[in-house]
Amino acid sequence: MSGLHRSPFHGYSAEFSQYRHYRPGDDLKYVDWKLVARTDRVYTKQFRETTNMASAIVLDTSGSMDFPGPPVTKFRYAVIAAAALAHLISGQGDAVGLLAGERVLTPRAGRQHLRALLAGLSSLTAAGGWSAAVNVRRASERLKRRGLLLVLSDFYDDEEQTLVELRRAARMGHEVVLFQILSRDEIELPYRRDLEFADLESGRTLAINAGLARHQYTDAMAAFLERWHSRAGAEGFQYSLIVTDTPPERALRNFLLARRR
């Protein structure tokens, strides 16, 4: 799986990447004169630079991730996915860091660092509140140069604030990848009985009949997912909705294949 991620840096090395319109100041040696002859337009060739990349995994540790309960919660699923991603990144010789709640690991390469990161992941628990915006900001600032920002969350936080920080990270040159991890039950709300829903983060409760609330809920949830999908696409983020009833390896494979395309 090595080589499946690309560097965010577009330099001038051996591997051709793309053409772009000539801008004043570009080195004339990269102008494709043959293309100028054919098209009467001036294009400059760009080459992909293969470098060591720094990655930061931002993991949502809020209480809302502790659903739908044992054995596989969203949080557990996210930890497995984060560990797999860290393993892949580290296996390519790239640096990988972690920002999960209070646990912060600066991006580094090497097997020892990977072990420390995996140990840190295994000791995490999902509880309380968690701000995606704050953690994205902290992670993007910890990446000293342009890198890869992997965010695994259900994104139930303040959408606008989170989007502002993600946009800011992108402007800093980081490639932003979003994994929205949800369970099937919270997408479809397959209950019919009277239930007193208790918010896993705030503890607030709401007693309703799930069957009666289902239609409105699924509509609102679909709108929420569509909103994230469209906004991520508009901002140039790579977005993946992962449902926890999908095996993690299949979800990651799909992600990596999509990334290759």
Partner: protein
């Protein structure tokens, strides 16, 4: 339908308990941790909206259960024709015999539901005890069989009247009449005191025996006379006692006022004692006084003694009401007249205290107000068959059974219904519980 314990019906208010419980006990919504509430809209709880409707069959079963239990406690009794026929087919029999006597039911008669024998020295006492026993018997035709030789006086019309109309009466002549019979017939006033007289009847012979009673002589006649006539009065009373007169009841008394003859002219002046003795004279209204006056007036000894007295009562007032003549003197005027009063019979007499007419009058009065025994009742002869047939009557069917004596009511059916409803309620409740747990497991499996 009758209720043996109708006060238990107040417990029907308990049927409100299942209703109240169904209303008050709502199924609490199960707490369910969820990632976020932001997409959930408040809705009505199904438990509040549909709980009563969903549990209506269970509620109906529970209400029926409580109502059936209350009805069973109240002791229902359906008065069906079958039940009435059953009651009318059975008999409760009380046999009254004289002490030492016996009577057995013939083999041709069906055995009664219950039977009890009451032996008594006096048949009337046995009949009273039999009536009390029959009142405690379960619903059935009730009958009193009186077995005796039925000597005259052993049963009277009053004894038969005391038997309630629904109870049948049957008379079985058994045994033989006693050869002799000794009865106490009354008390006698004698110079030696009060004596009780017993009469023994043997066949056609009669013998009497007086037994001294330890009680003082209560002479029933007050005599108002002059002081001069007092010795004559005492002698007259002693003479009457020496002939033994029947004692009167304590409330039956008489007062004899000896009116002195007029001294001059027609207008007679009475002494204060005489005036006082005659003051409360009034018309006779008490039956016993009227009987006594009639008996005195019919006394031939008094009439014979009266005609030997020369002067009768001269005062005109004694010729009019309320006075009634008892006997006439030689001059044709009444020697003695009688009237009533609040304290007894008042007799005015013109006979001198020393005259023989006075003790005859006192004896006649004493005999008239006394209880004269009726020896006919003591005779050793049987009550006529015609009288026994007239008293006989069949037991009537049961019309209004005594609730407290119902031996078998319909509560057992209701208790059986209660048990069935209890089983049904348990089954429905368990079915609901199993269904709910199955739904819960299904959801949990889906979540897992």
């Amino acid at each position: 339908m009758l209720w043996l314990n109708p006060s238990a019906l107040f417990a029907l208010a308990a049927v409100a308990a299942p209703i109240v419980i169904h209303i008050l006990i709502q199924r609490r919504a199960e707490r369910f941790p969820f990632p976020t509430l932001r997409f959930l809209q408040p809705t009505r709880l199904a438990a509040i909206r549909r709980h009563l409707l969903e549990d209506l069959p269970l509620l109906a079963i529970r209400i029926s259960l409580v109502a059936a239990a209350v009805a069973a406690l109240a002791g229902p009794l359906l008065l069906t024709s079958t039940r009435r026929q059953l009651w009318d087919r059975r008999t409760v029999r009380a046999i009254v015999t004289e002490t030492g006597g016996s009577w057995a039911v013939g083999p041709e008669q069906a055995p009664p539901l219950r039977q009890e024998t009451f032996a008594a020295a006096i048949l009337a006492d046995g009949i009273r005890r039999a009536i009390l026993w029959l009142d405690t018997a379960p619903p059935a035709r009730r009958e009193i069989v009186i077995a005796s030789a039925f000597p005259i006086g052993s049963i009277t019309d009053a004894d038969i009247t005391a038997v309630p109309a629904g109870i049948g009466l049957r008379f079985e002549r058994t045994g033989s009449l006693p050869s002799t019979r000794t009865v106490a017939i009354g008390r006698l006033l004698t110079p030696d005191g009060v004596r009780r007289r017993e009469v023994t009847l043997t066949g056609v012979q009669t013998a009497s025996r007086d037994v001294a009673a330890r009680e003082p002589v209560s002479w029933p006649i007050d005599v108002v006379s002059s002081e001069a006539g007092r010795p004559g009065i005492d002698a007259a009373i002693a003479a009457v006692l020496s002939q033994h007169v029947w004692a009167a009841a304590p409330d039956r008394r008489a007062r004899v006022v000896l009116v002195p003859p007029p001294t001059s002219g027609v207008v007679q002046a009475f002494t204060a004692a005489v005036v006082s003795g005659l003051a409360d004279a009034a018309p006779i209204i008490q039956p016993w006084m009227a009987d006594a006056v009639a008996r005195i007036a019919r006394d031939p000894d008094l009439r014979a003694a009266a005609v030997r007295v020369a002067d009768g009562l001269a005062d005109a007032r004694f010729a009019a009401a309320p006075w009634q003549p008892l006997a006439c003197a030689a001059d044709g005027r009444p020697l003695a007249v009688a009237a009533g009063s609040a304290r007894g019979v008042v007799v005015a007499s013109s006979a001198p205290a020393s005259d023989v007419a006075t003790p005859v009058l006192l004896r006649s009065i004493a005999d008239a107000i006394a209880d004269v025994p009726d020896l006919q009742r003591a005779e050793v002869v049987p009550i006529a068959d015609a009288a026994l047939q007239r008293w006989s009557r069949p037991p009537l069917p049961v019309t209004a059974p005594a609730i407290e004596m119902i031996d078998r009511d319909d509560r057992r059916w209701l208790w059986a219904a209660v048990l069935c409803l209890l089983a049904l309620e348990s089954w429905v409740r368990r079915a609901r519980s199993a269904q709910a747990s199955q739904e819960r497991e299904t959801e949990q499996a889906r979540v897992a």
